[in-house]
Amino acid sequence: MSIWEFANPRRFVHLTDTLLPWTTAGTVLLMGVGLVWGFFFTPDDYAQGSTVKIIFLHVPSAMLAINIWFMMLVTSLVWLVRRHHVSALAAKAAAPIGVTMTLIALFTGAIWGEPMWGTYWAWDPRLTSFMILFVFYLGYIALWAAIEDPDTAADLTSILCIVGSVFAFLSRYAVMFWNQGLHQGASLSLDKADHVANVFYIPLVISIAGFILFFITLVLLRTRSEIHARRISALLARERQG
């Protein structure tokens, strides 16, 4: 049994029927535990006070914001190479979630930045990179919205996603060259003791897992709706043609 079998829209829809209850339950459980634990059952940080707790929203959303773009890049490549409709529709379905996560990361970052750095916004390389990622998302979504024929839209947005990825990556190094920033190092690294204390680490990981499941649930649901929409338009076209 190959993974490509789920590239068939019908099989994919049936698969989501089975998966969605589980991912939904997992999302509620992990997000609930992670966030409640993070907000109410962790001590205040000695330096940052209670403001540190926004980390449980900020870090997962920021990780997703970047990784959703990666997922769109991979699904776009799959569409261009293998022409699996589900792949293209999954990229389309993921983009609005990605842009929302980027916005959440930017807003929570601003709220966190005010007490920490004394400013809501600074042209720090990482903040700037997220702003740039945000406009890349906007362009991608606008292109999907502008083209009527769904296969043409899938082709063109995929090409844009690939070229955009290259230049988004270049932009990230460009802003690092352009301005050295305020940001602390990566919040999560393999040797966890580095940046985040143990008390925060476990609820953070749970919260991240919850966000990932949340994303999976949403993207499955949205891809399914896109498949339904394509099915309806295909049926209408068949009706017209007789």
Binding site: G139, A146, T152, V163
Partner: protein, 218 residues
């Protein structure tokens, strides 16, 4: 392929849109900056490299939607696609023609406009060199955007939204190439990367844009 470029240049000259419009726009943008930020020459001198780069970049944007739109509407693009030229070569020639009619005049005009903004003496050479090295990347990336949006009825606004984010690295390294010299630092890294971005777009964009064109004419 030379014939294609010759024709595009001829058309740009005869329709009067090419050189004149984007240069006039560049002048107006540069002129507006003192109106916006005030006439103190110290302030202007500080922001001059960035303003010149942003002005050139925006002026470049103006004529992008004409790269393929007219050929698409009058059927030339269909005929070119069935001609013995590779579509990648057509894209490259279109981008070169766009650069010759916009990027090159802007590059030549920028040092003159730098005078209006009180650009420090050391900056003039590098404004010219950085624009000469960077505007080809703007033309190639713009050609890609034009290829993506050619089938759309009101593609102009969308074209800007798609292309501007792609311009970010070029703008940063281009403006840094000038700013660093003016501030007495070495600009060799910035300038080398700027040139590398241009070369990179020459290699990558024709393939991506040709693919987009094939999708749009089918």
């Amino acid at each position: 392929m030379i014939a294609l470029m010759k024709r595009d240049l001829q058309l740009a000259l005869r329709s009067g849109g090419g050189f004149g419009l984007s240069l006039a726009f560049f002048l107006i943008v540069v002129m507006f900056v003192p109106f916006g930020v005030g006439p103190e020459s110290a302030v202007l001198a500080r922001i001059a490299p960035g303003i010149l780069w942003i002005g050139a970049l925006l002026s470049c944007l103006l004529s992008l939607d004409r790269i393929f739109q007219l050929d698409y509407e009058d059927g030339s693009l269909d005929l070119l696609a069935t001609a013995p030229l590779p579509l990648e070569g057509i894209v490259a020639m279109k981008a070169v023609a766009h650069w010759l009619t916009t990027g090159l005049p802007l590059t030549v005009a920028a040092p003159v406009l730098g005078f209006l903004l009180n650009l420090p003496v050391e900056g003039y050479l590098w404004v010219f060199l950085s624009l000469a090295a960077g505007t080809p990347a703007l033309s190639f990336l713009g050609t890609f955007g034009a290829a993506i949006t050619v089938g759309l009825k009101r593609g102009g606004l969308l074209l800007s939204l798609l292309v501007l984010p792609l311009y970010i690295p070029t703008l940063i390294f281009g403006a840094q190439s000038v700013t660093r010299v003016v501030e007495g630092q070495s600009n060799s890294t910035a300038f080398a990367i700027l040139a590398a971005i241009s070369l990179f777009t020459f290699a990558l964009i024709p393939f991506a844009a040709a693919r987009a064109l094939r999708v749009n004419i089918r």
